[in-house]
Symmetry: C2
Subunit: 382 residues, 2 copies
Amino acid sequence: MREVAVVSAGMTPFGELWRHSLRDLFVEASLEALRNARADSVDAVYVGNMSGGQFVGQEHLAPLLVDQLGFRGVAATRVESACASGGAALRAAFLDVASGMSDVVLAAGVEKMNDGADVTGVLASAADQEAEVYHGVTFPGLYAMIARAHMEQHGTTLEDLAAVSVKNHRHGALNPKAQFRQEVTLEQVMNSSLVADPLRLLHCSPVSDGAAAVLLCPLSRAKEFTDRPVRIRASGLATSSMALAERRDPAFLDAVRLSASRAYKMAGLSPSGIDVAEVHDCFSIAEICVIEALCFVEPGRGGQAARTGETALGGRLPVNPSGGLKSKGHPVGATGIAQVIEIFDQLRGAAGERQVADAAIGLTQNMGGSGASSVVHIFERV
Amino acid sequence: MREVAVVSAGMTPFGELWRHSLRDLFVEASLEALRNARADSVDAVYVGNMSGGQFVGQEHLAPLLVDQLGFRGVAATRVESACASGGAALRAAFLDVASGMSDVVLAAGVEKMNDGADVTGVLASAADQEAEVYHGVTFPGLYAMIARAHMEQHGTTLEDLAAVSVKNHRHGALNPKAQFRQEVTLEQVMNSSLVADPLRLLHCSPVSDGAAAVLLCPLSRAKEFTDRPVRIRASGLATSSMALAERRDPAFLDAVRLSASRAYKMAGLSPSGIDVAEVHDCFSIAEICVIEALCFVEPGRGGQAARTGETALGGRLPVNPSGGLKSKGHPVGATGIAQVIEIFDQLRGAAGERQVADAAIGLTQNMGGSGASSVVHIFERV
């Protein structure tokens, strides 16, 4: 297996971008990644997208988007794993380069959610239609059940949940690409509108448009494109049952644990080797469960981590320095790649006000549904 | 790059399977592939599916389907490239094994089209929404324009078009898994209902449900699963403009030519080295254009090939011995894998009444949209 590097990145701002179409967003992010590497051709493109078909009536995005980019002819494929589509696209691009099939590969995620579709209904198609959706549950409801289970089992408090949002908004306020660049207080979170008890509006990531792209190549060729490449040290992908009710413990994200175990093993690293992480905080409870499943904290202690500052910028292990999905925004297919871009910037010392001092090893964790799929990547400063 | 083999296959019958859900179909085909190889575990699964979201309200198929199969936890990803989703899934599985990441990988395609959705509308989302669909064109209309252009340029006749359907129905009548197991006459084709002039009902592949699965592993391990493995000698993927109007020549499928060139180069073979092929005859005109783009016949001579018997069983180069999409059926996400299964059977001498004598090298060509994406694989008897 060839060693693979990330050599450049591009990203649109995330937000309600009513004046931008899906193809505009893809092209803007991809061109930025290509320009930054001074690359004028690629061998392959992977597009991470959850639901172009339902959101904007457009399937078959891969050939459409490479053509829009000016690369008609280039091999291109769309990869979908709901909200983990970006992470899954990165993994596909990684395997393409690692196999020796392609040298220069673009992995780009994109989603156009604000375009008139019933967003809650479309997102629900990432849950089990027969066992869950038919009976009326939506994602805020599923994550509310996860939150309730975590509170029951571990004594996690409403303040713990709110602290995740407060932290991520504080980080996101420093991110020029974030959808919400303002801090929120614990009181604001705890008094925001109830969405699905115990989750309130400020526990939920927003509905977003946006795109993010990274360029990959063999590590041996990385210096052609940048003087600061970042090596992909491991890729782990795992699944769990789609329906929350079929899991042994709804508050334990077993696919996250399994994907992380595979990545740690491939990297030859333990969780203590990670300096900075971007994880899938689609709801505040998700970050709590994810950092436990990644073994960043003891089981049941995820609720305390944000409250004590352990996972804040300046803490023991900063989590979601970008602002996370909560503050940066969550255009679902783009999220996994945007996470990679934050780690790429952090490991290159290019994260500006959000810089984690001397970050050498970073991790991304991207999740689909209520945790039925999870993709973990580990990156290393070269 | 490691050598990769196909070691077993499984497939549902194709047809209007009102009593079978998408998950039933996937499990039936996949279990057959696993049973045939006596494999009780896999390292990864790739699901080829065009539009579970629009057809049956279900995205995020990869974790759902591996769980239904009893493989909860296993790495799984959905790959989409419209009607080329199956071929794209095979390519992703091939790269996964070739890279050394995974050893035993299932590539399965599935589509459930008969379930109440507006099938023509959903399929149209594989064309360019802005440049084509918005203005009212559907796929029969797009392929009718391709047919008109081919007739104008090359003198292709209505009899030539009809001969493709007659040939493929004759082949499909010998295939127990085919949706239509009856022969049709030239007169029947030419007098069937007009769909989009010059294309008539019997020029069009049907709306189908079905699934198909193949098991891949490193060639070095193939004998653990079968005494007759088939080697994947090459994989070529290419794209073209999504909108037909933007192509230099609507009757020339440039993505097919490019994907084939890449595959021939990788295999170190010329078109004359191919003994049998399965190609994407979603409409009769498609087979004509595809065999030209694959360089099986001279440019403009595709129309004569079926009429003269050159591409029939017993001819110089049998094309679509399975019956093709026309007669076997076209559950869009499953088609690319079903093509591989026919070639797998042919190269193992297991194609029964459809057997091409002494077939040693076979090719599959799977297409998305009106030719915006094309995947070509070349296989070799070991």
